[in-house]
């Protein structure tokens, strides 16, 4: 589990190496990020060839339906919004060495409350107030939900990798229970919340289907990037991430900081859910589990917590997800191809990290 620390070191090292120019650094980090992507595409292509499909046609279809086609492009931009917000939260937690792997549960918990509250509030308040309230509610509910692993970690030193992952399962069951028991819409037969009227959804941009959630996501990622690099809070998180013992020694209040990291990181996941519900879904069904949080994890690492790279990788991922769905249908293979590629990406990333470590060790000795 050394990846977040290593990543921090590379992405956030402030001192400029004397021998390495800025250009060299940028090109090196580009190569570091691109090699896993290229590797994943090559191996994925080989698999397609073995299955008797033309990999070039498949990847062509991915680009065609995810990026070039107008409908596909809009869908891509819409899908980016929640991914960006979850990424913003992880960009806070990971550099601080906190493994919040429970964003899926936090997302669903925030989403359920927002979906239940939205249709109740909508008749009484205007658009701006409605959205702001729902955004805050989504953020706060997810943040409160994350207090469980946060307190376990801060006071009892309980490993958050396990607790956050496990709490996702509990969160999913609990939200299903809430929908079936309290929030269900009495006018439908399926267990789901009341639907937020289309007229009460988030405003759209450029006379397309793309809603303003995309802007919120982009702003969040850029703001987190800026805060992590330029504020005392960001520096504290980085110190904790690189060397927790030094953080204690320096007098940083670890309990308070741990709570802050969990609640902020989870809050962004809750906000992501609020935006997707007010922007696209308008409703939550029992057993709802979009499970997008864990998919963002490798992307954030691949981007080494840098805003521009995070946005680029999430855009590429969304293209692949949207385009991959139709390409898979056309090639008559299961849609798991996208997940398979993400898996390959992870393996190549780990390999790249290892190679880099080895070459830097060689360099030192």
């Amino acid at each position: 589990m050394s990846a977040p620390h290593g990543g921090t070191t590379v992405a956030l090292a402030e001192h400029k190496s004397q021998t390495e120019s800025r250009l060299e650094r940028v090109s090196r980090s580009m190569t570091n990020a691109l090699i896993p992507v290229v590797g994943a595409f090559v191996i994925g292509g080989l698999l397609l060839a073995v299955l008797g499909r033309n990999p070039f046609a498949f990847y062509g279809n991915v680009i065609d339906h995810g990026l070039i086609g107008s409908l596909g492009r809009q869908e891509t931009l819409i899908r980016m919004a929640p991914l960006l917000l979850i990424a913003a939260g992880l960009m806070i937690a990971f550099p601080a060495g906190i493994w919040n792997l429970g964003t899926d549960g936090q997302y669903v918990m925030g989403g359920v409350i927002v979906a239940a509250l939205g249709p109740e509030l909508a008749p009484h308040v205007s658009g701006f107030v409605l959205f702001t309230t729902l955004f805050i509610v989504g953020f706060v509910v997810a943040a409160i939900w994350s207090l469980i692993p946060a307190i376990l970690k801060a006071w009892y030193g309980i490993n958050e990798i396990i607790s956050t992952l496990m709490l996702t399962f509990i969160g999913l069951r609990f939200s299903a229970f809430l929908v079936k028991e309290y929030f269900y819409d009495r006018e439908t037969t399926v267990p789901q919340t009341r639907v937020l009227a289309v007229a009460d959804r988030l405003p759209r941009m450029f006379s397309s289907r793309v809603h303003i959630g995309l802007i919120v996501g982009l702003v969040a990622v850029i703001a987190v990037h800026f805060v992590m690099r330029n504020t005392a809070f960001g520096l504290r998180l980085r110190i904790v991430g690189i060397n927790p013992k030094a953080a204690i020694h320096a007098g940083i209040n670890m309990k308070v900081l741990t709570l802050a990291i969990f609640t902020l990181s989870a809050g962004f996941a809750g906000l992501a859910a609020a935006i997707n519900i007010t922007g696209v879904d308008g409703v939550v069904r029992a057993e709802w589990n979009p499970a997008i949080g864990l998919l963002v994890v490798p992307l954030v690492f691949l981007a080494r917590f840098h805003a521009a790279s995070v946005i680029a990788f999430i855009a590429a991922f969304a293209v692949f997800q949207v385009g991959g769905e139709s390409a898979s249908r056309k090639a008559d293979i299961p849609n798991f191809m996208v997940l398979f590629m993400v898996g390959l990406l992870l393996i190549f990333m780990a390999l790249g990290e290892y190679m880099q470590l080895r070459s830097s060790r060689k360099h030192q000795s």
Partner: protein, 517 residues
């Protein structure tokens, strides 16, 4: 008496050179190890001692030069190869597994397939224990042994496959005066049996006390030698002076301590620790009713063997560890419930012994490490936003004041040497009105010159009115700069006594818990 030239040397190094990128660690080294002789290798950190041991023990391959054993040219391929040839090394840091028994530790190094051969090992252990004239219980757990005993096991391990050369790397750094005395006996016995012993140290007195011959290394080269005849015939002061010149070049004043100035009787008490106790995991408390009181500008030395509660005491004073009982009073105010940051703001500073582990954040710049304990504070941050200019300016001033050798303030602190890193930590803790400073082994791992600078800085600060708690395992340092000294033993602190010449033996007795003196 036999002339050296008539004996076949156990090991001869001829023209050994080893270069690493950017530094020649060993340059044309000629060294002769004779049977029945203790050869002291003396030099500052970075003088090339470690590389030379590495070459002898097979860990490092030389770029050029020749090694002869008993007159025959050999290549030492690996540490195992060295052991087979009778060259054993006892490293500064123990290689023993603390949870295993002595015998199992010794068996770990023996490759005999599935069979462990305990009987043979018992016999060999007995043989070597007799050679060393020590008692070693093969069934005791290594972790339960005193450090001196552990070292004896290390020596047995080093000689396991053959007794030719024993290399001891800074062997006294962990020992009490009594433990060191026993080591001297063991070494004397080994050379009387015809072994050659290499004794590596950066402490001049030890090198002269223990060595029959002293070789001085500086910057990878041999810069001088004191022969057995010279050691016998010249006065100690004369030899010391010559060797100091070899180590440091012509400027030989670096080893001089800074003696403490008198504290006036009228100076008021500023810092009091009263009956402080901290519970441990086991049945014994980590700190047991620790009490002392200090006047303004006073330096209290805390001596003791590592692991008797010194680190815990330092952490309690700094606020990194909770007090279960007792009180800490700074200028009349109780501070034991204050956070680390609050104590820091009141002028309580802690120079940790763990430079890499907690004292610095390696990948961050020197400048950021200088303000590590002031994150978010003005003038370095304003409205929580970082002001790089203010931080750099402050860092440059401290780097200048404390003579930190660094290309500039923006390099990662992990690229600095231990001594410069320590200077940065000192600069940070002593900046901006310190009142009480707790030092935990502030010279650990530093060379003689930096040690002297650090000690002088501590004494200077005390003269300017900083109350000081100085934790050290080096009695000579305590005697050099402290006004009073107390000894930690199993969590208890002895009554502080005034420092006077010749106090070392009394302290040594307290350090080992023996009451007779």
């Amino acid at each position: 008496m036999v002339l050296a030239s008539e004996i076949t040397p156990t090991v001869e190094l001829i023209g050994i050179t080893k270069a690493y990128p950017g530094v020649v660690a060993n340059s044309d080294i000629h060294l002769t190890l004779l049977p029945g002789e203790v050869h002291s290798l003396l030099g500052e950190n970075g003088a090339g001692k470690s590389t030379l041991i590495g070459i002898l023990s097979g860990m490092v391959q030389p770029d050029a030069g020749e090694i002869r054993i008993e007159g025959k040219t050999v290549h030492i391929h690996s540490p195992r190869d060295a052991l087979e040839r009778g060259i054993g090394t006892v490293y500064q840091h123990s290689l023993l597994v603390p949870t295993l028994t002595v015998l199992d530790n010794l068996l770990l190094g023996v490759d005999q397939g599935w069979k462990l051969g305990r009987e043979m090992a018992m016999a060999r252990l007995h043989e070597l224990a007799t050679l060393l004239d020590v008692e070693i219980d093969p069934s005791s757990i290594v972790g339960d042994l005193a450090l001196g005993q552990r070292q004896q096991v290390e020596i047995v391990r080093a000689l396991w496959r053959g007794e030719g050369v024993l290399i001891l790397d800074e062997p006294t750094s962990m020992l009490t005066p009594q433990g060191a005395e026993k080591l001297v006996q063991v070494v004397r016995r080994l050379v009387s049996k015809g072994l050659a012993v290499v004794f590596i140290t950066h402490k001049l007195n030890e090198a002269l006390d223990l060595g029959d011959r002293v070789t001085v290394l500086r910057r990878g080269k041999i810069v001088g030698e004191v022969t057995p005849d010279e050691l016998r015939n010249k006065s100690r002061i004369q030899v010391t002076d010559e060797v100091l010149k070899m180590i440091f070049g012509e400027k030989s004043d670096a080893s001089q301590g800074t003696s403490a100035t008198q504290i006036s009787d009228t100076a008021g008490e500023t810092f009091r620790v009263a009956h402080v106790s901290v519970k441990g995991d086991g049945p014994h408390p980590v700190l047991d009713e620790v009490s002392f009181a200090l006047k303004r500008g006073e330096i209290l030395g805390i001596a003791g063997i590592d692991g008797n509660g010194q680190k815990e005491l330092a952490e309690v004073l700094a606020g990194q560890r909770r007090v279960d009982n007792g009180e800490i009073i700074l200028e009349g105010l109780s501070i034991q419930h204050l956070s680390i940051a609050a104590r820091q703001a009141k002028g309580v500073r802690y120079v940790t012994d763990d430079r890499h582990g907690e004292g610095t954040v390696g990948p961050l710049s020197v400048a950021l490490n200088v303000v590590l304990k002031r994150v978010g504070e003005a003038p370095f941050w304003r409205w929580s936003f970082v002001r790089h200019g203010a931080i750099r300016e402050f860092a440059r001033k401290l780097i200048n004041d404390h003579d930190v050798r660094t290309p500039h303030e923006e390099v990662a602190i992990s690229t600095l040497s231990g001594g410069n890193m320590q200077k940065v930590i000192l600069a940070r803790e002593l900046a901006l009105e310190p009142r009480v400073v707790v030092y935990n082994k502030p010279t650990y791992g530093l060379d003689a010159r930096t040690t002297a600078i650090v000690l002088a800085r501590i004494a200077d600060q005390a003269r300017s009115g900083v109350t000081t708690v100085f934790i050290s395992t080096e009695l000579s340092e305590i005697v050099a700069i402290c006004h009073r000294v107390a000894v930690m033993y199993r969590g208890q602190l002895s009554e502080p006594i005034s420092v006077r010449p010749g106090i070392e033996l009394q302290l040594g007795a307290l350090m080992t818990g023996s009451t007779a003196v």
